[in-house]
């Protein structure tokens, strides 16, 4: 229910012009202060991938997206070994920090829910 794939008020905030005007700077500040961008990550690189759903979603990335993700993970672990963030020109710009994986995950979750629904369907004769 909570976490990156849980309930979110973001769509509501985005739909309201006033709210998004007020909250966008706060959100940007918060995302920057999390520090993942300094290690060249995108937000979706942080999602817990050790489960079937996300593994299936990862399989649906294009080859290019898959390579890029692997590169970011490698580069960040090297930076972690060195105990220092990347140089500033390698930080993820806000424009590139997009949810590239989340649509695939929600698609997979929808399919799983549908399968569950069909598996447990009770058919009634009319």
């Amino acid at each position: 229910m909570f976490g990156p794939l849980g309930l979110s008020l973001a769509p509501y905030v985005r739909s309201s012009r006033t709210l998004s005007k007020w909250l966008t700077p706060v959100a940007t500040w918060y995302a920057n202060s999390m520090g993942y961008r300094k290690y060249g990550f995108k937000y979706d690189d942080l999602l817990c991938e050790e489960n079937d759903t996300v593994q299936r979603a990862l399989g649906r990335l294009t080859t290019q997206e898959g390579y890029d993700r692997a590169y970011r993970l490698k580069r960040a672990s090297q930076a972690s070994v060195l105990h220092a963030p990347l140089s500033k020109d390698q930080w993820t710009p806000v424009s590139e920090d997009v949810r590239y994986l989340e649509p695939h995950i929600s698609e997979v979750m929808k399919e799983e829910a549908e399968r569950q629904n069909w598996d447990n369907l009770v058919v009634e004769r009319k």
Partner: protein
Amino acid sequence: MLAARASTARNAQRIARSFATVVDSTGVKVAAVDYNQPTASVTVLVKAGSRFEPKEGVANALKNFAFKSTKTRSAIGTVRESELYGGVLYSTLGREHLALTAEFLRADAPYFVDVLTSFVTSAKFTRHEFEEYVAPLVASEAEAAAHDPATRAIDAAHQLAFRSGLGSSLFAPAHNDITVADIKSYASAAFTKGNIAVVGTGIDQATLASLVEKAFAKAAAGSAASTPASKYFGGETRLESHGGPQTVFIGFGTTGAPSAELAALSAHLSTTPSVKWSQGLSPIASLPKGTSVQPVYLPYSDATLFGLLVQGTTTAGVKEAGQAAVAALKAAAKGIKAEELKSAISKAKFAAASAVDTREGLVNALGSKAFSGSEISLESTLSSLDNLGVDAFSKAAASLLSAKPTYVAIGDSHALPYADELGL
């Protein structure tokens, strides 16, 4: 007795009547027959066979994409809901047509017509479905075909005989670069109203027409696909294969509409005996042990491939059987006894008539004519066979032999005979 006579009269009337008339329902051709079968079937025939494909294997991929997710329901939804209704869904690919078929209980027509038409009008063609479900199917079909010498021989023969168009394979190449975008663009070009015919069995024509009209209301209008007219070339090829029988295909092609002569020739040479455990009366009935010869008669809209498929366990046996088959073919071209022709014609007529008894045969018979919009009846096929004379038969066989043969050898290619060794 009166009642019996009345029912005979009714039956005679029913036989004399054509199977079905093709009506145009908002641009889509609809034909249906209803013999009060307990189950019904609807086939959506699309002119999207391998002859129209822009890139090798795309037609096969589109066939395997059938019944995946559409705007109306997901792939799993289609499967589970069809199971609840107790229907069967399948798609088949020919060189001319792609057929999407549903078989179901008579009351469930609206649902199954919707399943078929929603794929035609609003398939999603998602990339992950292609990679997760369709690509493995395409690969395994190509693999299975590569392991069956007969399928491989007939595929190779088409390529030699017609090169492009009808020559393109029903299967995808083993290492292909088909993308989902290729399939999508092929589907959007093929799934237009002028390119589609709907054939129903066990369903009323008016009911089917109204269901189709509703479903295709928003479909893209477009004219029927066309390709350059087929041309016959012929040639020889030898392919290596491991396992499976030694196979030789001796083929001949003609262009133009399929003729009764070749159907009769195929029946004349057919080694299938009419009585079980007998040798049959075919001129190639006595073959070396462990070999078989099957006539292959494949009529298409503007060309025909006729041939003899010779299979055996040893290359020596195949050579002997091939020589016998070619000798029989040449004898038929020189002349045939009137009574032999008579029995060949009866056999061909029975084959044509009994094909219509099965659902697939009926759909094939209706489908081939549905696009031309002509009156469909068995009568015309049977009467054209009836009018066949000895001279016309031999002339057709001779003109067939005068063209360059299509020769395919599959197996131990160093030991299998060459075309000239069989007397071609």
